[in-house]
């Protein structure tokens, strides 16, 4: 790239950087339109709800330590289970994905901000009211019908809690749609002129796939919830068999969103992993286009597999066959990704810091979750373990082992950029070790429980399952403890951490070409794309025969 030395002689710069205001801490509590502030707002809000949802899970695991309902009442257990699921999905994982997207997309593509900054702020400010509304239901009888809210159970198990749940999900869903509109427009329209679609970071590809699913799926869930609301309040019977309705129609509409929602929750973190692994392995990503297009393939296939959640709902045989086949086909694009990541690590100069440890943890746990997913796609096996702890084990391996590990990898990777401070690596590694042990101890035994026939979603169980349940409960306590090194690390680093340079990881994507934390409106001058996003280790000799990659990286890093 011949333009690499251009910006230093660029007169545009003067008078421009002096316009930038300083960022004040109060900005984080206002209706700010800066995508970086919004990204942090999303992330901190999501983490707040993560701790709330985690606390609910600890209460549940404490209850499940013994077969009898001696710690909480069964009704309260139902509420805990419903709220835990809803909070973790709609207030933790999905907003956390949006947090990374908001923070990173404009920086990665060299833009000043998102395409619609005000809409972006509106989208964020729907999340706290939605979350508070949901939590407020505890005062008036929280919903008890699970995060799926299947009728007729949801129609008969407490009107007010259920209606609050519906309103809260409608609010959070709207927020998610507005966010997705912003992501797609920004990625398509705001890239710097040099960056074509095949030289943009893979995180942007994964957010394109995610946003497509949000735009196409969420409205259908809204339609289902509006009809459910009518059943609940106005006395119609769309889904109530007693009045001539059909609960299966709800299941179809619900899963038309909620299966893609699984990909909405994992795809952003596929993107995060695709960024983290090459940087810390010092190797180009293996199969850029394969990873990029497999995200789109997952997105498309994700729209036509929903009825695999309904194999036991009286779904006719031919339809089961169709959905079994499409579900198994999803293993292909997912496998392409997993193999590409393994090939990226293979032979790399691994820097085993907290970010990469969580990245590798992601790979190994997500692999188990993915493989048990293929098992569940098989109709006969699915019918056997339907609604057992096997399912609970499976989706926690995907959602915790996948999404949450990927999320932590991203937090450790971009923390220096977001805060301008380095994290403490010792605490970070301790966090990883405790999380990895706690996670496996909690969720691996659940597969066994499920195969032995323990039903999920109930507070009391057969005494023969107690030993394994005890192991799960101990594991969940380790998980709870694992968050302390993390919290201490983050709080300590924000205030007392070592100052981070511009580019502590010698990374090539554009967000590392500006200050840490980035200035308001991101770049002093439009950044220059002088290398692809993942060209690590291949051009150690030179670019254009005069400057080595290391020298150029040092230049970019030295200005901080």
């Amino acid at each position: 790239m011949t333009t690499s030395t251009e910006p230093k002689t660029n007169p545009i710069q003067d008078g421009h950087s002096s316009e930038h205001r300083e960022r004040k801490w109060q900005d984080y509590f206002t209706f700010s339109t800066d995508h970086k502030v919004i990204g942090i707002q999303y992330l901190v809000t999501a983490f707040f709800f993560y701790f709330v949802g985690g606390a609910l899970a600890e209460v549940m695991r404490t209850e499940l330590a013994t077969p009898d309902p001696d710690f909480v009442q069964p009704e309260f257990y139902n509420q805990l289970m419903t709220m835990h699921g809803t909070i973790m999905l709609f207030l933790w994982i999905i907003p956390a994905g949006a947090a990374f997207a908001n923070y990173l997309i404009p920086l990665m593509i060299g833009a000043e901000d998102m395409a619609f900054p005000r809409l972006n702020a509106v989208a964020f400010w729907m999340i706290p009211p939605g979350g508070i509304l949901l939590l407020s239901s505890f005062f008036n009888g929280a919903p008890q019908a699970g995060w799926t809210s299947y009728p007729p159970l949801s129609i008969v198990s407490g009107k007010s809690g259920e209606e609050i749940w519906i309103l809260s999900i409608l609010l959070l869903g709207t927020s998610s749609i507005l966010g997705a509109m912003n992501f797609v427009t920004t990625i398509f329209k705001m890239r710097i002129p040099d960056m074509d679609i095949h030289s943009m970071p893979l995180f942007c590809w994964s957010m394109l796939a995610t946003s497509a699913l949000i735009l196409l799926g969420t409205p259908v869930l809204a339609a289902a919830l509006i009809l459910l609301s009518f059943d609940l309040i106005a006395g119609t019977s769309f889904f109530n068999p007693a009045g001539g309705g059909d609960p299966i129609v709800y299941q179809h509409m619900f899963w038309f969103y909620s299966h893609p929602a699984v990909y909405i929750m994992i795809l952003p973190f596929f993107g995060v992993i695709s960024e983290v692994l090459p940087v810390h392995a010092r190797k180009p990503i293996f199969g850029y286009r394969a990873i990029a297009y497999s995200s789109l393939a997952i997105s498309f296939l994700g729209l036509i597999v929903w009825a695999h959640h309904m194999f036991t709902s009286g779904t006719p045989g031919w339809l089961r066959m169709f959905f079994m086949a499409t579900t198994m086909i999803i293993a292909v694009p997912t496998g392409i990704k997993v193999f590409s990541w393994c090939a990226t690590l293979w032979g790399g100069k691994l820097n085993l810091n907290s970010a990469l440890l969580f990245g590798i943890g992601f790979l190994s746990s997500f692999l188990i979750g993915g493989l048990s997913g293929v098992m569940l796609a098989a109709v006969p096996f699915d019918i056997h373990v339907h609604d057992t702890y096997f399912i609970v084990g499976h989706f926690h391996y995907v959602l915790f082992g996948g999404s949450v590990f990927g999320l932590f990898a991203g937090v450790y990777h971009w923390f220096p950029k977001m805060s301008g401070k380095m994290v403490n690596e010792t605490l970070g590694r301790l966090h990883f070790i405790l999380t990895f042990i706690g996670f496996n101890l909690t969720f691996l035994p659940m597969h066994q429980l499920g195969l032995q026939g323990m039903n999920r979603r109930i507070a009391l169980y057969d005494p023969q399952f107690q030993t394994i349940n005890m192991i799960c409960t101990i594991g969940s306590y380790i998980l709870a403890v694992s968050t302390f090194p993390f919290i201490i690390n983050i709080v300590w680093s924000v205030f007392k951490g070592k100052k981070a340079p511009r580019n502590p990881w010698s990374a090539l994507t554009l967000e590392w070409q500006t200050a840490s934390p980035p200035i308001i409106e991101n770049f002093e001058e439009e950044p220059v794309l002088w290398a692809g996003p993942y060209e690590y280790g291949i051009d150690t000799e030179s670019i254009d025969g005069n400057e080595s990659v290391e020298e150029m990286l040092a230049e970019v890093g030295a200005e901080s």
Binding site: L216, T218, A222, A223, F230, T236, F238, V249, M253
Partner: protein, 206 residues
């Protein structure tokens, strides 16, 4: 060698121009956003229509026995009003393209009146229906689907009225700056198309 320096200066020139446009003429992507929103919104209707069609295919009789016949006269008049209003509205936008703001106001005002007429017609239909929301599954679907569409018409009318309100301001809309006008029009056409599908599904194929 010479040619390569030439290329370099060309690239540098392009680079400066690119920076100029990025900093001064902030490009307007709002129309793209409106299209994304409408794709998303259409999925809501798709959800309702899919539910309607599933009920239609799995119920032994559709509409269920004892459902009073739907009166067709008012909805047919309504369909005519709504479809023609799309053309009326387009004339308003065409007038603006010639910088004729009063033309825009006339045609958009007419469109708003036609929208209101549609809503009044729907209100008349609701109050004179021989069935209620909870009579049976079909009537519930009828009110849910037409009601949700009516909500969209209401929003459309409000959008048109807000365009009219803002057009009183000198130079607010012109042949070169008319995002609000275009967005309102696209939305109105969208609502119109949805109505045609709805009309066929709910009124015609029983």
């Amino acid at each position: 060698m010479q040619s390569s320096t030439l290329d370099e200066s060309k690239v540098a020139l392009n680079y400066h121009q690119a920076i100029e446009t990025a900093h001064h003429g902030h490009p307007d992507h709002r129309m793209f956003g409106v299209f994304l929103f409408l794709i998303s919104d259409s999925m809501t209707f798709l959800g309702f229509f899919a539910a309607f069609l599933i009920y239609r295919s799995i119920m032994p009789a559709w509409p269920p026995e004892g459902t009073p016949e739907l009166e067709l006269l008012v909805p047919i008049i309504n369909t005519a009003i709504l479809v023609s209003s799309s053309f009326v509205m387009h004339k308003g936008q065409a007038a603006l393209k010639k910088d004729d703001v009063s033309g825009l106001q006339f045609w958009f005002g007419l469109t708003a009146l036609m929208g209101i007429a549609f809503l009044l017609g729907q209100g008349y239909e609701y109050f004179h229906a021989e069935f209620g929301l909870t009579t049976n599954l079909f009537t519930s679907c009828f009110f849910a689907v037409t009601g949700f569409h009516g909500l969209h018409v209401t929003v459309g009318v409000l959008l048109i009225l807000s365009v009219l309100w803002r057009s009183r301001q000198e130079g607010k809309y012109s042949s070169t700056s008319h995002f609000g006008v275009e967005a309102a029009e696209i939305y109105w056409h969208f609502v119109d198309v949805i109505w045609l599908v709805l009309f066929v599904l709910v009124y015609l194929i029983n």
